[in-house]
């Protein structure tokens, strides 16, 4: 009997010891596991902040949209039939709906999203026939709306699925949406839902509501933007139709940028071809995606103003002129007899269209865009011994004007461009001998560079900022599209440009617009140049195997530089014919210079 008693006591002591161990020593671990069992945390989408223009006019808004979802508790057997019935109502193939329900990245507990921006009539149809669609839920969630349609689509940018399971809704993938995602996104809320052992929701136990994103005000002026986009579209249409003096060209794309030089704010930034951001706001249809990425569509999602790389052609001549003046090869008064040809090492180089301009000094050479004058400068500059840098004088001036590196605009991604020279040519040869078999830099390369051809590549935005630097003689503040968020920043000294040389070049640019024989004279006929003097330069850049790029850059008013505007149109022929009129229209709205 005593043994029985001892055994009994042993049993109870063992049980009690184990109980104490579980409930005291291991309690935190088990409590955490009980909590993990019990709770599912569901993220609540925060409405994104609005995107406004400089006068707070709405470019992008967040508005509630109908979302149609399927309750996952609908048994598998019924689900197939239900989706078959739903297909025609939603206008989506049943197979697509099945794929959306079975999406492995979707939550296991939450209802499966079938449509996230359903039209009212679909919702109405579902409500009327609710009995047929047991398990289909209709709720409302925020989605992007674009009251101005495609306007400034590239600036606004695109949205994609929010990264990570914690974040509900969508996140910016390009443009302002991506650059200022932190501000726009707000903070997602969460519902804490209790679920039972079968995963069925048993009640809401709390959470926090979503914090809407903050509005973002841009420097973009909606009116200027609209004019820029329309002018670009008109210019491309003109180039396509073919005008006297040009070949009919396809003009697949182009870009316009307008910047206020006083503070670096971007007033308009247009890129063509463009896209409808509304089609990318919610679940993106496969055919929409395919159309945007079709090579025949010419990359509509690319913002050519920041990412388009073009040979600048004659718009680069001011750089050559500054380099030559700085090296003492010419003075502004030096006269060259332009007979339409230049002999370089046994090769005969010609002016565009074989025209002979006769006697040209620096200003006239820029105004009429004499290639012969600049062939000579390029040839002679090749023989100037390099100074402190490994590259020549043209590369040095190009660097001071900001070519070859990003402008630092608060939108990404931005291309850096390329300024070729002896040093970079040799480095390329060392790196990729197969692609660059000859690492030497020839006078012919320098001559090509002098007229903005060869391996030289710039973005439209770089070109605009370079002309801003040239016109003001100051380092302009980095271009930006966010209106608020940084203190007032003006241009600062330190551009490193000789004032006299600058004035000589600017005289030439004024002549290109204002003198009778200037290349842009026709485009600016009737423009009140006496009130708003304009300095500008046309460019017609050759591209291997493709039509010429049409370029024009201008600064106005010349006596007190405020605005710089650039237009680039691909495969569109002469800068004077296509690009210059685009810039003129933008300048008209900017300066009130409408005739």
């Amino acid at each position: 009997m005593v043994v029985v008693a001892v055994l009994t006591v042993c049993c109870f002591v063992t049980l009690l010891t184990r109980l104490v161990h579980l409930q005291v020593a291991e309690r935190p671990a088990y409590a955490a596991r009980a909590e993990a069992n019990r709770l599912r945390i569901v993220a609540l989408e925060a409405p994104r902040g609005r995107i406004l223009d400089r006068s707070e006019r709405v470019l992008a808004d967040s508005a509630p949209a109908w979302r149609i979802r399927l309750d996952r508790r609908v048994p598998r057997a019924e689900r197939a039939a239900l989706l078959e019935r739903l297909g025609p109502v939603l206008g989506v193939a049943a197979a697509d709906l099945r794929a959306r329900v079975d999406d492995p990245s979707a939550d296991r507990v939450l209802p499966a999203t079938l449509l996230d921006d359903a039209p009212d009539d679909v919702v109405l149809a579902l409500r009327e026939r609710a009995a047929e669609f047991d398990g289909v839920e209709i709720d409302s969630h925020p989605i992007r709306r674009y009251p101005r349609g495609r306007l400034a689509a590239h600036v606004l940018g695109t949205l994609g699925a929010a990264p990570g399971p914690g974040r509900a809704g969508r996140a910016g993938t390009s443009g302002v949406e991506a650059a200022f995602d932190q501000l726009l996104a707000g903070r997602a809320g969460e519902d804490r839902i209790e679920v039972d052992s079968a995963g069925r929701p048993a009640g809401r136990t709390g959470g926090r509501s979503a914090v809407p994103g903050r509005d973002v005000r841009l420097t973009i002026d909606l009116d200027v933007q609209a004019v820029a986009e329309q002018a670009l579209a008109d210019g491309m249409a003109l180039a396509r139709s073919g005008v006297p003096g040009t070949d009919a060209s396809p003009a697949p794309g182009g870009a316009v940028a307008a910047i206020d030089l006083r503070d670096g704010s971007v007033l308009a930034l247009a890129s063509a071809p463009t896209f409808d951001p509304a089609t990318l706001a919610g679940r993106i249809r496969a055919d929409t995606w395919a159309a945007l990425h079709d090579p025949a569509a010419h990359a509509p999602l690319t913002n050519r103003a920041l990412q388009g790389l073009y040979a600048p052609g004659s718009t680069f001549k001011p750089v050559t002129a500054l380099a030559a003046l700085g090296a003492g090869l010419v003075t502004p008064a030096t006269v060259v007899d332009d007979r339409g040809t230049y002999l370089l090492g046994g090769r005969l180089l010609q002016n565009a269209q074989g025209r002979a301009h006769g006697k040209v000094d620096l200003a006239r050479a820029l105004a009429v865009s004499s290639d012969v004058y600049f062939y000579g400068l390029g040839d002679r500059l090749a023989r100037v011994p390099p100074g402190t840098t490994a590259d020549g004088p043209i590369q040095a001036i190009a660097g001071r004007l900001g070519f070859g590196r990003p402008t630092g605009i608060d939108l990404g991604p931005e291309a850096a461009g390329r300024v070729p020279g002896p040093a970079s040519r040799w480095a390329a040869h060392e790196r990729r001998p197969a692609d660059v078999p000859d690492g030497r830099w020839y006078p012919g390369d320098n001559v090509n560079l002098a007229i903005g051809q060869g391996d030289l590549l710039v973005t439209p935005l770089q070109l605009a900022m370079a002309y801003g630097t040239l016109a003001t003689g100051l380092v302009p503040p980095a271009p930006h599209v966010l209106a608020d968020g940084r203190g007032p920043m003006g241009p600062r000294p330190g551009a490193g440009l000789d004032a006299a040389a600058r004035q000589a070049v600017l005289a030439g640019l004024a002549g290109a617009v204002g003198s009778k024989e200037g290349t842009a004279a026709a485009a600016f006929a009737g423009f009140p140049l006496d009130r708003v003097p304009v300095e500008g330069k046309t460019g017609t850049a050759q591209v291997n195997g493709r039509g010429d790029t049409s370029l024009f850059v201008a600064v106005a008013p010349a006596n007190n530089p405020q605005f710089v505007v650039v237009a680039v149109v691909e495969e569109a022929g002469f800068g004077s014919v296509v690009a210059a009129p685009i810039v003129r229209k933008v300048l008209e709205v900017l300066t009130g210079g409408r005739p």
């Binding site: 009997m1 005593v2 043994v3 029985v4 008693a5 055994l7 009994t8 049993c11 109870f12 063992t14 049980l15 009690l16 184990r18 109980l19 104490v20 579980l22 409930q23 005291v24 291991e26 309690r27 671990a29 088990y30 409590a31 596991r33 009980a34 909590e35 069992n37 019990r38 209790e194 679920v195 039972d196 052992s197 079968a198 048993a202």
Partner: protein, 371 residues
């Protein structure tokens, strides 16, 4: 109630009352039906307890064999087409809304039969008498295993060990039996007599959390429930594991997890304390009675209760194998409740009728063998 042991009856009543509350908590999402029925089972148990507590022990001893044969007949009958199958075991008679589980009834009946057999020896159990006890055990164990109901078979074995040990079986006989028993267990596990799920359930506690959604799921959820309860528990009806049905079979075999989660260490220790008190009073009745039949009855009942509590509570905490053994008084179920009450009533009867002598019923040799 004169002469009755208030601690013995009180602890049983307290446990049964607590059981109603726990079953209610575990089945709250289904309404109150389970708790109401559990109250009816407790009432039925009270009737059974009253009967066994007041009946003449001597008359019971003389009729022990009749009861035994009756129980055996029921066990045989349940295997016939009259019996109903639930959870893979043909263990029930379905009587309209009621279900009778003869194996549960067999537990107190076997105790009495063994006690009567042991009492006839009037001295230590020799080999022949021990063999007789094993024959008494063999019949019901065989029939119960055929259902198959391994848990009840283990209870029958354990209560037999309790009776024969106290009756004075030789130590070497018991040791020999232990060795054979151990070999039999290994043989059963290996030879494929049991379904694979049974083997897995029995050995699951040896490799816990190896398979979080399968066999170990029950055990893991039971441990989460008990572990998260802590010192004071989540509060009655507030445990998330219990409310949200994370512990399977919670109102029956895993009822102790309700105590653990909602009443914490305080509740768990109280339950174990009440069982301890009950065990002590049954042991005390056995120790003090002069009637060998009564003493052996108490020994069998004590062994039965201690084994069931240890096995059941132990399995919810992962220290013993998972078997379908109810926790006396607390688990939902009629047959078990009535059988347990009847057994405790028997012990109360012994406590009431023979309060004087200490150890008088057991021969000197038996006391030597067991002290």
């Amino acid at each position: 109630m004169a002469g009755h042991d208030p601690l013995l009856l009180g602890s049983a009543a307290a446990l049964a009352a607590l059981g109603v509350v726990l079953v209610g908590a575990a089945t709250r999402r289904h309404g109150e039906a389970f708790a109401v029925r559990q109250i009816l089972w407790v009432a039925a148990g009270g009737v059974a307890l009253t009967a066994t507590a007041l009946v003449d022990l001597e008359a019971l001893r003389r009729r022990a064999n009749v009861l035994y044969l009756g129980g055996l007949a029921l066990l045989a009958l349940v295997l016939s087409p009259f019996g109903a199958t639930t959870n893979g075991a043909q263990a029930w008679f379905s009587l309209g809304p009621l279900a009778l589980q003869p194996a549960e009834v067999m537990k107190p009946v076997l105790v009495m039969a063994l006690a009567a057999h042991g009492a006839r020896a009037r001295g230590p159990l020799d080999g022949r008498r021990l063999l007789g006890a094993l024959v008494l055990l063999g019949g019901p164990v065989g029939l119960v295993l055929l259902q198959p109901d391994l848990g009840t078979a283990m209870v029958l074995v354990s209560l037999t060990v309790g009776v024969v040990a106290v009756a004075g079986a030789r130590v070497r006989h018991l040791a020999l039996l232990g060795i054979f028993g151990g070999m039999a267990v290994v043989g059963v596990l290996r030879a494929g007599v049991l379904a694979p799920y049974q083997v897995e359930r029995l050995t699951g506690f040896l490799h816990q959390s190896a398979d979080p959604r399968g066999t170990s799921w029950n055990l893991e959820q039971a441990k989460i429930a008990i572990g998260s309860g802590g010192l004071a528990g989540e509060g009655l009806f507030s445990g998330s594991q219990t409310r949200l049905a994370y512990v399977p079979e919670q109102h029956t075999d895993f009822v102790f997890t309700v105590v653990g989660e909602e009443l914490g260490l305080v509740g768990g220790a109280t339950v174990l304390g009440l069982f301890g008190l009950l065990a002590w009073r049954i042991w005390r009745a056995a120790w003090r009675t002069a009637d060998p039949f009564g003493a052996l009855c108490c020994a069998g009942i004590l062994a039965m209760l201690v084994f069931q509590v240890t096995e059941n509570v132990g399995m919810t905490m992962g220290i013993t194998p998972i078997t379908g053994i109810p926790l006396p008084f607390l688990s939902y179920g009629g047959s078990s409740m009535v059988a347990t009450f009847a057994a405790v009533g028997l012990a109360a009867n012994v406590a009431r009728t023979c309060p004087q002598a200490t150890g008088a019923a057991l021969g000197p040799a038996a006391r030597l063998a067991t002290t």
